[in-house]
């Protein structure tokens, strides 16, 4: 029973990515080059990492509107810690990831203990995280950062092209998390909670613990994305994360994960993030203004959600 064709929901995003690549290849001769793909991966690195956490949350039938803002807060915390107190890069980074994990915990507690809908909770924490980021940084970019924080932004030459260490880290995170979702009991419990919380609870699984774990894990992924963002920009930017916030959700949905929870494959999210990256990159190469890029992203999301809806109706 191994040799089954994956269902359309799995192949769809991949086909969309290939079609997008084929289209842009005809539009610009610079598109289909190794350097360009290396650039797309660099651009996708931060949003791709955020989207791992977002996928976990959406699999439980939740949503996290605060992801990008939490990422920005994390990057400010880690750079300020290093700049103000002279902490070494690893310690400062750990504190930054601690801050984003704490925010994830707050989201999780509000969802599980206060029983508030994730949409509303994270709409609130979106604004709270943004405000804290601005207040703490004084709306200033923090550039005085230790050398160690830039390391992930350095590149490795693989077969004539540059690949950032950060990109490799993102790919490894995808692989590990995908395996965890597939092969471990807690991974399957995440799907079960998204499928039917009631049935899951009745089998003796603590759905609250699963949800809390998911929100905290998402916070950790946002923290790692903070680290990648700092490494890529070379600074702590209080205005980071604003496009990533919705792009992460877009990537998850384009990747075929159902907004209704319980269905989806993490690798699809990587493909979804690449679709967003390819569109941004390809339209830029074509000389299309960034406003149109936002327009296209919007259309893509609606198309993806519509496909999700229709395929759900097909199976009851």
């Amino acid at each position: 029973m191994k040799a089954k064709l994956p269902p359309m929901g799995t192949l769809g995003p991949f086909i969309a990515l290939l079609l997008a690549c084929a289209f842009f290849a005809t539009q610009s001769d610079r598109f289909l080059t190794l350097q360009n793909f290396s650039l797309i991966l660099q651009q996708v690195m931060v949003v791709g990492t955020i989207a791992i956490g977002q996928t976990l949350i959406i699999l439980t039938a939740g949503i996290d509107l605060s992801c990008g803002m939490i990422m920005a807060l994390g990057s400010i915390v880690m750079t300020k810690m290093a700049a103000d107190f002279g902490l070494s890069a690893p310690v400062a980074i750990a504190l930054g990831i601690g801050a984003t994990a704490l925010f994830g915990l707050v989201n999780g507690l509000l969802v599980t203990k206060a029983k508030l809908p994730p949409f509303i909770v994270t709409l609130g924490t979106l604004n709270i995280a943004f405000a804290i980021t601005q207040l703490y940084s004084g709306s200033q970019t923090i550039t005085d950062i230790p050398e160690g924080m830039n390391w992930l932004g350095q590149s490795l030459r693989i077969g004539g092209t540059n690949v950032l260490y950060g990109v490799i880290l993102m790919l490894v995170l995808y692989l590990v998390t995908w395996l965890a979702l597939r092969e471990t009991a807690p991974g399957r419990h995440i799907y079960a909670v998204g499928n039917s919380p009631e049935a899951t609870r009745l089998t003796g699984i603590s759905t609250d613990k699963v949800l809390l774990g998911v929100y905290v894990a998402a916070g950790v992924f946002y923290g790692i994305a903070s680290m990648l963002s700092v490494a890529r920009i070379g600074a702590g930017d209080p205005n980071a994360g604003q496009t990533e916030n919705l792009d992460a959700i877009t990537a998850v949905v384009l990747g075929g994960t159902s907004l209704f929870g319980g269905r989806g494959i993490l690798i699809g999210t990587l493909v979804g993030a690449l679709i967003v990256g390819v569109f941004r990159n390809g339209l830029t190469l074509m000389g299309v203004s960034s406003v149109y890029q936002i327009l296209v992203t919007g259309i893509l999301v609606i198309l993806a959600v519509a496909t999700d809806q229709m395929s759900r109706k097909g199976v009851r």
Binding site: P186, R188, A192, N195, A199
Partner: protein, 288 residues
């Protein structure tokens, strides 16, 4: 995330744990598996259970029937751990027990099949059978990384479903691709596979058509024939009469009578249920 400690207990390695005691005949000579005495449950002004008694014997299908408000569901909730009775005692295999939650009841070997809610639709049959009780790999991979032994879960699923003669071919298909009756069979098979003592089924055929309902009834009978006693809550009198060994009639928060469906007529049973007839008016051989 604390899953139940299943690395040893939920890994049924070649006969190390055999939940089914083997075929057993139902009958009055059988020992009591569950016994409840004088259960009382009040909700504010309403007395749902008013000194209800209950007896389940080994190897039988005991149907529980009653009008709405007769205390049928409160009784079942008390037995499955979903509510805590205010007064009275429950014995499992002669030992007094107190369940604080359905999880407690499950740990004690009482599994409940609910009318719907019971399965995760997008997950496979094998995953549903082992949800919350996954078989983990031995050693570090299982204990620390909590990796599942998927091969073993799959082969166990196949053998358990074959045992109960559930005719579903692939254990790796999503439950949502099954018919309603097949889904309910998955839920029943899961309960039967893990129950040490008792399976409670709450209206398992209510949402099903005739053919599908019969399929589930057949399965319930096979569960009984494997030696697991079954408590069946049902509104469907023909189903109850077709399958039950004894019928517990709940009325006004008490046990009105326990009758023998092979002797008593359906209309007499309904008469006791509605209070039109008293248990004392029934012929002695109709009582069980």
């Amino acid at each position: 995330m604390t899953a139940p400690t299943l690395s040893s207990s939920a890994a049924p390695q070649g006969g190390a744990r055999q939940p089914w005691g083997g075929p057993a005949a139902a009958g009055s000579g059988q020992p009591l598996v569950i016994q409840a005495k004088g259960l009382v449950k009040r909700y504010g002004q309403v007395t749902a259970l008013d000194g209800a008694d209950f007896e389940l014997r080994a190897g039988e299908i005991l149907a529980v029937i009653g009008d709405n408000g007769a205390g049928k569901s409160s009784l079942i909730k008390a037995l499955s751990g979903a509510t805590i009775p205010d007064e009275g005692q429950i014995f499992l295999d002669g030992q007094p027990i107190r369940f604080k939650s359905p999880i407690d009841a499950r740990r004690a070997g009482i599994e409940t099949v609910y009318q719907d809610l019971a399965v995760a639709p997008a997950m496979t049959i094998a995953e549903n059978l082992f949800l919350g009780r996954e078989i983990l790999r031995p050693g570090f991979l299982g204990r620390v990384l909590r990796m599942m032994d998927k091969k073993k879960m799959l082969s166990e699923s196949i053998s358990r479903m074959n045992d109960l003669k559930v005719g579903i071919r692939s254990m790796t298909q999503a439950v949502e691709t099954l018919s309603g009756g097949q889904r309910q069979c998955v839920a029943v098979a899961r309960a039967a596979a893990f129950a040490q003592h008792v399976v409670i089924m709450d209206e398992p055929t209510a949402a099903l058509g005739v053919k599908e309902g019969n399929m589930v009834l057949e399965l319930i009978r096979r569960v009984r024939d494997k030696g697991l006693p079954v408590i069946l809550i049902s509104h469907n009198m023909p189903h109850v009469f077709e399958i039950a060994d004894r019928i517990h009639i709940a009325r006004l928060g008490k046990r009105a009578a326990v009758v023998n469906p092979k002797v008593i007529s359906m209309s007499d049973t309904v008469a006791v249920m509605t209070g039109a007839k008293l248990a004392e008016e029934l012929p002695a051989e109709a009582l069980a």
